[in-house]
C-alpha cells in the first residue's frame, strides 16, 4: 500500500485509491476497543470496526473497503507494508512515485 500523509489518501501499490482516511472524532488507536483474537479494534463512538492494515494485503484492504465503504482503517507511519508518499523524497534522488518504505529499511 501507499499512503500520502498530506492528503490522507491510501492507495494500493498499483495506484488504486482505497480510501481517504478521515476521522472527525480524531480517535487514536489506543482509544479503540480491543477484540478477542483479532488484530482489529472497534470504535466505541461509532460502533464499527477499525481495521489494522499492518497485517493485511492490498487486495484484502481493497476488497473490504469496497464491500463496506464506511469501515475505518488504521495506517501507521512505520508500517512495513506501506510506503509513505512524499514530495521531498524526490529531492534526494529517488523516484517520487516509489514513495518511502515506512517499515524498517535497513
Amino acid at each position: 500500500m501507499r499512503f500520502d500523509p498530506n492528503t490522507k489518501k491510501l492507495f494500493t501499490d498499483s495506484g488504486e485509491l482505497v480510501k481517504v482516511l478521515h476521522c472527525p472524532l480524531r480517535m487514536r488507536w489506543e482509544q479503540l476497543g480491543t477484540r478477542a483474537s483479532s488484530p482489529h479494534r472497534t470504535c466505541g463512538e461509532c460502533d464499527h470496526p477499525v481495521l489494522d492494515t499492518a497485517e493485511m494485503s492490498d487486495a484484502e484492504v481493497l476488497a473490504t473497503v469496497r464491500a463496506e465503504p464506511s469501515v475505518c482503517l488504521c495506517v501507521r507511519a512505520r508500517q512495513a507494508n506501506v510506503n509513505l508518499l512524499t514530495v521531498k523524497h524526490a529531492e534526494a534522488g529517488a523516484a517520487p512515485d516509489r514513495g518511502r518504505k515506512a517499515g524498517p529499511g535497513r
Partner: protein
C-alpha cells in the same frame, strides 16, 4: 481588564468544542496565527496590536533527513541519494549522513497572537516554531511539521498532531 488579560485566559468568548472536525492539513475555518522570525517583524506586529509570544528556535535531534553524495569520476558532477537501497551513480564521496535540513534566520521567533484570542480556540499555526516530527519515516526521513492546528491554552499553543498513525 489589562490589555492582554484575555490572552491569559480571563475570557472564553470563543471556545471551540474539541475535538473539532476541521481538516488537519489545512486551515479550514480556523483563524491563522502568523509567525515572525526577525526582531523587526516582531516589533512591527507588536506596534500593530498583536502580542508576540516569543519562543526559542531549537533544532530537535529527532528531526533529520538523510543523504549520501555520489560523484561521477569523469565529469565531477554529483548525484544525491536519500535511500540506501538504491544509491547513486559514480563514487560515493560522502556516506549516508543524517542532517538537519532547515535554516532559520534567528534563534528566536514569535507567534503573533491576536488580541481576541481566547482559551480553547483552535487556530492554524502557519509557521510552527517548535520542532515537531511530521512523519517518522525510515531511511532517516523525519521532516518537521511546518504548519498545523493548535489550541490556545491561555499561555501556549498545544499542537494537534498525529505523527505515528492515521485512522479514518
Amino acid at each position: 481588564m489589562a490589555m492582554f488579560d484575555r490572552l491569559r485566559g480571563a475570557s472564553r468568548s470563543r471556545i471551540l468544542s474539541a475535538p473539532s472536525d476541521e481538516p488537519r492539513d489545512a486551515p479550514g475555518n480556523r483563524r491563522v496565527v502568523k509567525t515572525a522570525r526577525t526582531k523587526e517583524a516582531i516589533n512591527e506586529a507588536a506596534r500593530k496590536g498583536f502580542r508576540p509570544l516569543v519562543k526559542a528556535v531549537e533544532p530537535s535531534k529527532d528531526i533529520h533527513h538523510m543523504v549520501a553524495v555520489f560523484q561521477d569520476p569523469e565529469t565531477g558532477e554529483i548525484e544525491l541519494s536519500g535511500d540506501c537501497r538504491f544509491g547513486g551513480r559514480g563514487e560515493k564521496v560522502i556516506d549516508y549522513t543524517l542532517y538537519y535540513p532547515y535554516h532559520f534566520p534567528n534563534p528566536f521567533a514569535a507567534y503573533l497572537l491576536p488580541r481576541d484570542l481566547a482559551v480553547g480556540e483552535e487556530v492554524w499555526l502557519e509557521d510552527l516554531i517548535e520542532d515537531v516530527v511530521a512523519v517518522w519515516g525510515n531511511q532517516g526521513f523525519h521532516p518537521r511539521l511546518e504548519a498545523g492546528p493548535a489550541v490556545w491554552n491561555g499561555t501556549d499553543f498545544e499542537v494537534i498532531h498525529e505523527a505515528d498513525h492515521w485512522i479514518g
